[in-house]
């Protein structure tokens, strides 16, 4: 009987979402027709922004609830296929949708660490976590840690870890939302952030997990269509096939040919030599600090005085004053700014990176090239490790295994999620290669007088996104004169390929869906950890269900506002922010979750020490090695060389082994877990009923 009802529920859902997909496609087609009839672009942007937001809000309002099981786990009856879609939307964040292809564009093969890590982690979720969590069947991840490791302390640490990594992650999503709304609606970045926040809140605030689930299914459809349709169009344009995923090997080859041409081109070499000279100059200034800082400042003051005394035009004086005001405030800041400048120039001075070559090095000296390559290889593997382990420990993803109807459904739900995720992750490398081909052939080598319009558009939004400068003054664009920030590659792709503006709007709407769906899941995780684990389980176990849900909603609002505030500080690019969250989650929770099921001897003190030490090692490494925190804490990067040359994004490569080791040692040194705990372990291992 129950299965029959569930079947009817699933087929009704299938009908709804099929209609939704057709409706959305029709909406895009209508906007395209309107564009051809001359509707202004800003209206198209608004239409995408407000129509999709209204849609998500509508689903959120229809699914509003105050029931505890509905609010926390969507009533535990989401069919595997739809739970897979919701998981996929939860998973594919602004970093995947906006950041990934841009990172691949810049890093070539080395960027594929993100592709491997963000998909490979699902194997760990499927094999080691999801079915066991579902068998356990409570509400949150700290619930499991608390039950398995005997109570309060383990739960509290799990809660703190859940909150910190979800918080970093949600900041990156809100930042992404701000970026997209700025682009779509032309509003200021800070308004964009709060506009996006409203969209996130309507949904998770009213209906908790239930509303988030059904919105995420819709968002999954929107984001996949928004990635695949423009890519198919780009494929037709560039590779002559609407399925470039299967045929871009040929384009990759042409990109390789073009790379070798650009490598040998005398004008490119000239520009690279200028960049190299600038790098040397910046290094020389760093070397002669603090004298160089004083001299530089004195020279600027001197120039302003000279302009004033000769009654130069006010605009020239203003310009000189602007240069002075952006001049480093003290020698320490100067060291940071100029070291960064030298690094940027060094990058620009390198010949084009062979896209398909693993662990490429620009060094000409063979011994140095070898050591740089082996450093890149180690960092590639370390990053993959952190991302897979982080995937299997990020609470907003794992929470989704509670919402299915049974253990087997939890397994197939992960499998379906991977199907939808692969649609995007197999496409992103193709998109990167096609965009690279477009830039290398249609922008590089063109005269500055007829630059494509998208270049100006993005420069206006933020000069940090795109810089282009005729460095050798020949009036022709050289590759080394153009610098693209990874975050704009996907958003600018339709414009780069000359597609109609409606495609740009569609891509932006997809990015918005990706960022909103992930932010929804994350905010819910944080608020639930606070309301369920902290308030209900630790502070007031007698709270009524209605009160618990109310508290959860209030906390959600508070957390969202704090996250928006932090996002306004613009703490780094999306992909590296998200990478930090993965390392933190992996180091603090991965060993405790996996060993909790697979090692009966793991006990409370093992978990406590394991989680604490993993978290501590990771946090220490991030705080002392990540440049954003270095500048906040005013640390000198020179005093903190990386361990084994590992980047801070992969700090989990130290945190996970340390955490696992501490868990094992502390467990063996203290008493074995009691009968009740062992019975729980046997229960989650036992064959599932459904």
């Amino acid at each position: 009987m129950r299965d029959v009802l569930a079947g009817a529920f699933a087929s009704r859902l299938g009908r709804y979402y099929l209609l939704f997909t057709i409706g959305f496609l029709a909406f895009v087609a209508v906007l395209w027709a309107l564009e051809r009839l001359g509707m202004p672009r800003s209206y198209l942007g608004y239409a995408f922004l407000f129509a999709t937001m209204a849609l998500y809000a509508g689903i959120g309002i229809m699914s509003r609830t105050a029931d505890v099981a509905e609010y926390y786990v969507a009533g535990r009856r989401v069919p595997a296929f739809f739970n897979g879609m919701a998981t996929a939307a939860d998973w594919m964040s602004a970093a995947s949708f906006i950041g990934l292809a841009g990172t691949l564009y810049l890093l070539g093969f080395d960027g594929l660490a993100f592709v491997l890590g963000w998909t490979g982690g699902f194997c760990l979720v499927a094999l080691f976590i999801a079915p066991y969590l579902r068998r356990f069947g409570q509400f949150t991840i700290p619930d499991f840690l608390g039950a398995r490791y005997g109570g309060g302390i383990a739960r509290a640490i799990g809660m703190a870890a859940s909150i910190s990594c979800s918080f970093i992650y949600v900041v990156a999503q809100i930042y992404g939302v701000g970026l997209i709304t700025t682009y779509l609606a032309g509003v200021d970045f800070s308004y964009g952030v709060f506009l996006g926040l409203a969209g996130i809140l309507v949904c998770s605030f009213l209906g908790g997990m239930r509303a988030v689930t059904w919105t995420q299914v819709a968002q999954c459809i929107v984001l996949l269509l928004a990635y695949l349709i423009p890519l198919a169009w780009l494929g037709l344009h560039t590779a002559g096939t609407p399925l470039p995923q299967w045929g871009y090997g040929r384009v990759l080859e042409s990109v390789g040919v073009r790379e070798r041409q650009l490598e040998a081109d005398p004008r490119e070499r000239e520009v690279r030599a200028i960049h190299a000279a600038r790098e040397q100059a910046a290094r020389a200034r760093v070397a002669s600090l603090p004298r160089s800082w004083e001299e530089g400042r004195a020279a600027l003051h001197g120039r302003i005085d000279a302009l004033r005394s000769t009654h130069a035009p006010l605009s020239a004086i203003r310009a000189a004053e602007r240069v002075l005001s952006s001049y480093p405030a003290d020698p320490q800041q100067a060291r940071r700014a100029w070291t960064e400048e030298a690094a940027l120039e060094r990058e620009a001075a390198a010949p084009p990176r062979p896209h398909a070559e693993p662990f490429w090095s620009a060094e000409t000296d063979p011994a140095q090239a070898r050591s740089e390559r082996s450093g890149k290889r180690v960092n590639f593997l370390a990053l993959v490790f952190c991302l897979v382990a982080g995937t299997a420990a990020l609470p907003h993803l794992l929470m989704r295994s509670y919402t299915t109807a049974g253990v087997q459904e939890a397994r197939t739900s992960v499998a379906w999620a991977l199907v939808f995720i692969l649609l995007l992750y197999i496409s992103a490398p193709a998109l990167a290669v096609l965009v690279k081909y477009e830039i290398y052939t249609a922008v590089v080598g063109q005269p500055y007088s007829d630059l494509p319009a998208w270049i100006g558009t993005w420069q206006r939004i933020d000069p940090g996104f795109l810089t282009i400068e005729d460095i050798n003054g020949d009036g022709i664009v050289q590759l080394s004169e153009l610098r693209l920030a990874p975050d704009i590659v996907v958003l600018a792709m339709p414009a780069i390929a000359g597609l109609p503006f409606v495609m740009s709007g569609l891509v932006a709407a997809g990015g918005l869906a990706a960022a909103l769906s992930t932010a929804d899941g994350l905010l819910l995780t944080i608020a639930n950890a606070l309301s369920h684990d902290l308030y209900f389980k630790m502070i007031d176990p007698s709270a009524t269900p209605a009160r618990r849900v109310t508290i959860a909603k209030v906390l959600l609002l508070v957390v969202a506002l704090i996250a928006a505030f932090v996002a306004l500080l613009r703490p780094g690019d999306i992909v590296s922010l998200v990478g930090l969250a993965f390392s933190l989650a992996a180091a603090s929770m991965f060993p405790a979750l996996v060993l909790g099921v697979f090692w009966r001897r793991a006990n409370r003190w093992g978990a406590v020490w394991g989680m604490l030490s993993g978290f501590a090692v990771c946090t220490y490494y991030i705080l002392t090695r990540y440049s954003f925190f270095q500048s906040i804490l005013s640390l000198d990067p020179g005093d903190f060389p990386p361990w084994f040359g590992i980047d801070p994004i992969s700090s989990g490569v130290f945190g996970v082994p340390v955490g696992a080791l501490a868990l094992v040692v502390a467990s063996l040194l203290t008493a074995a877990p009691d009968e009740e705990t062992l019975a729980l372990v046997d229960f989650v291992r036992s064959p599932a009923r459904r």
Binding site: F109, L112, V115, L116, T119, G120, F122, C123, L124, A126, L127, F128, P131, Q245, G249, R250, L252, E253, A356, E357, P358, F359, R373, R377, F380, L381, V384, F385, V388, V407, Q408, R411, T412, V414, A415, L418, V419, L422, Y425, I426, P429, A430, F598, D682, R685, S686, P687, A688, R689
Partner: protein, 86 residues
Amino acid sequence: MASEEERRRAHWRGTRRLTLALLGAWLLVTFILPGLARDVSFPFLGWPFPFFLASQGALLVYLAIVWIYAWRQGARDRAARRGDGT
């Protein structure tokens, strides 16, 4: 007739065996081959092999792993419910 306890142990042994076998395939395409990327570079279906592996091949192996796991483990659970052990 095996006791309840023995049946449970056998089920868990089987789960571990399946998990380990799939984990082996996963390690191969996630760490071992990408780690050797510069040494296994040969043309493959029109791609350099390491690029194909890291952008598509490994991903399809992942898909196979999770589906095989869901299918095998589901079948084993059903068998255990019927009471015929592994």
